[in-house]
């Protein structure tokens, strides 16, 4: 973490719990830069997370009010906190498993209600904390602890899901493209109503290792290469497209 953002880090913090090379650390940096640009007073910021490695992005790292809740339940906790004190800029940052699997129902209902919060989903396409099991975001054919022969089920396109449920804004970028990612987070927080940012975040320990993606540099290259714009995607065949993430703003 660069010194520039130190004011947002919690005092008394001794290092991070993330594995070396975890994308969640980069996402933390992007979130802080977006918040810094917005100039919201730190006392008015509330970060809420569920359970998982990604839930550690705000808690304990960010030195504002933080609510580290139960697996899957960050959004309902945030709903109560925001409604009881509408002055709080409420940002939910948690994992793909947390927000879209166990917490999927809360996600679509918050979007439907247009709750004035921003959800940042760290999508590492797997359950990191519990040892690399299949998530509802795991791409078809990739290997996990519970699908060693390759996952057979289609993953959610979470941006399209929340769009269908009524989100005012949804965007997807990998942590390897921080300029776009920070812009998207900033825009999402600025927009009143339910907004969503999905950050593709590599998990070297569980996902990278199981899928033989090579060393960290290769893993990051592979993740970046899997992200294409809508125009790029249009030029791809169906099979090719299915293995890519379409990045950009899905709702604007």
């Amino acid at each position: 973490m660069t010194r520039a953002m130190e004011q947002y880090l919690r005092k008394g913090l001794k290092g991070t719990a993330f594995c070396p090379g975890c994308g969640h650390g980069l996402l933390l940096g992007s979130i802080l830069r977006a918040v810094d640009r917005l100039g919201i007073p730190q006392d008015d910021l509330l970060f809420v997370s569920g359970i998982g490695c990604a839930a550690w992005i705000p808690s304990p790292n960010i030195g504002t009010d933080t609510l580290h809740t139960l697996h899957g339940r960050a959004i309902p906790f945030a709903t109560g906190a925001k409604l009881a004190n509408p002055k709080l800029t409420t940002i939910i940052a948690s994992g793909d498993g947390d927000l879209t699997s166990i917490g999927g129902n809360h996600l679509i209902h918050a979007a439907r209600r247009d709750l004035d919060v921003t959800v940042i989903c760290a999508n590492n396409q797997i359950y990191g904390m519990t040892g690399g099991q299949t998530a509802c975001t795991t791409p078809v054919g990739t290997h996990t602890a519970t699908d060693p022969a390759g996952n057979v089920f289609r993953p959610f396109d979470v941006c399209r899901l929340v769009k269908a449920a009524g989100a005012r804004y949804a965007a997807r970028y990998p942590v390897t493209r921080p300029v776009e990612l920070i812009d998207a987070i900033e825009k999402a927080i600025r927009i009143k109503g339910f907004t969503f940012v999905e950050a593709i975040s590599p998990c070297p320990t569980q996902y990278g290792r199981r899928n033989a993606l090579g060393d960290l540099a290769k893993l990051y290259e592979a993740v970046d290469a899997s992200c294409v714009t809508a125009e790029e995607a249009a030029r791809l065949g169906e099979d090719e497209r299915r293995r890519r993430f379409v990045v950009g703003e899905v709702v604007s």
């Binding site: 304990p60 339940r73 709903t79 906190a81 004190n85 809360h106």
Partner: protein, 378 residues
């Protein structure tokens, strides 16, 4: 010129138990309600929706009970007195969130209007089958507070008390109602000469620890500028996650126990009826205490010296009061609408003979059953 009006005690009004509880919540300062419809508790939510709209505050019908309890805990951390209401299946769904609220010392009130279970059971019929779920429903060591109303008046009075205890001890507090009391209609006074306890929000000290090993820490709210760190993982007094430190976990679990159990005298309330010379003591709670008081009157008319110890607090359990009763009577009878859940706890508090009257057919116990039972014994 007209005389200035003296403040008059409000008149009694005919009310439903569930409605009285909603009125009480508002008067105790509740400004947030989240819930999901379920019989026989729904009238509480419906009335809260009206009252919060009139008096200010936030109401949210959530997508399920899991979301409801989590929203209530979130609102509490934003500084609001907050409540939910549910019944059996919904109460089961809330257990994980209740454990979180307990471990993070989040004040809230939950009213469970018990219906007959397990599973969907008899949705519209009475039972007292959740009494152990109040105590042991969530995982880990918990020392909860649960109050038991037996009348519409107590749906009002004990709901106010539940809010006060929640704030005083910074913990979730249950109102262990049952369908018969929740749906009862009778006269009650919505008085307003009660004490209202508010949480200690400002002060020195850490938000999750205190010098007193049975202490209740100050509880700042989100937005107070304290950069609060709230986590359901084991945490030190400042809120830092310390999951690998055996001393931190033990100290936290022990303090949470002592904060309730060392203050049991302040929390436990019982009500004694005709126990001074009693030879047979009936121990009952909720609607079964209504049955029992009727039975005591009939038994006395027949010359049987019976008396009633009515539990107004279920947890912490009134152990001392039961032990004292056991020393004075020949036998203790416990009528309840389950297979003897509280009778078993009573047995653990006394060496006196404890006899259990159980009924699980979705109906209240007829006083004549208790009368016959007591007569056979004497």
């Amino acid at each position: 010129m007209a005389e200035p009006k003296r403040k008059e005690r409000p008149a009694a009004q005919l009310l439903q138990g569930n409605v009285a509880a909603a009125e009480a919540a508002i008067r105790a300062g509740c400004r947030f309600f989240a819930g999901y419809p379920i019989t026989p508790s729904s009238e509480i939510m419906v009335r809260m929706a009206e009252l919060l709209r009139e008096r200010g505050g936030a109401f949210m019908q959530m997508e399920d009970e899991i979301a409801s309890i989590c929203a209530v805990a979130g609102a509490s951390w934003s500084g609001a007195k907050a409540m939910t209401a549910t019944s059996g299946p919904g109460f089961s769904l809330m257990q994980e969130g209740l454990g979180y609220a307990y471990f993070t010392e989040t004040p809230l009130v939950l009213i469970d209007v018990q219906r007959a279970g397990p599973a969907t059971g008899q949705a519209t019929h009475v039972a007292q089958g959740d009494v152990m779920q109040f105590r042991y429903g969530s995982h880990g060591d918990l020392f909860p507070i649960a109050l038991v109303p037996w009348s519409v008046q107590e749906m009002y009075d004990l709901t106010i008390r539940a809010f006060n205890l929640a704030e005083r001890f910074r913990t979730p507090v249950f109102l262990a109602a049952d369908e018969a009391v929740g749906h009862l209609r009778e006269n009650a006074v919505l008085h307003d000469d009660y004490e209202v306890v508010d949480r200690v929000r400002f002060g020195d000290g850490d938000p999750f620890g205190s010098a007193d090993p049975a202490g209740v820490p100050v509880m700042p709210a989100f937005g107070d500028g304290r950069a609060l760190m709230v986590t359901g993982s084991t945490h030190d007094p400042k809120g830092f996650r310390k999951v690998d430190d055996p001393n931190v976990h033990d100290a936290l679990v022990t303090r949470l126990m002592r904060k309730v159990m060392d203050h049991a005298d302040e929390i436990v309330e019982v009500d004694a009826h005709l126990l001074d010379d009693a030879e047979i003591g009936i121990v009952a709670y909720g609607i079964s205490a209504r049955t029992s008081i009727a039975a005591v009157k009939r038994l006395r008319a027949k010359g049987v010296k019976a008396g009633l110890l009515r539990l107004k607090t279920l947890w912490p359990f009134p152990e001392r009061e039961i032990a004292r009763l056991g020393e004075r009577v020949r036998a203790i009878v416990v009528p309840e609408l389950n297979k003897g859940m509280i009778a078993g706890v009573v047995r653990g508090c006394t060496r006196a003979r404890v006899l259990s009257i159980t009924q699980t057919n979705g109906k209240t116990i007829d006083p004549s059953r208790v009368v016959r039972f007591a007569e056979e014994m004497s």
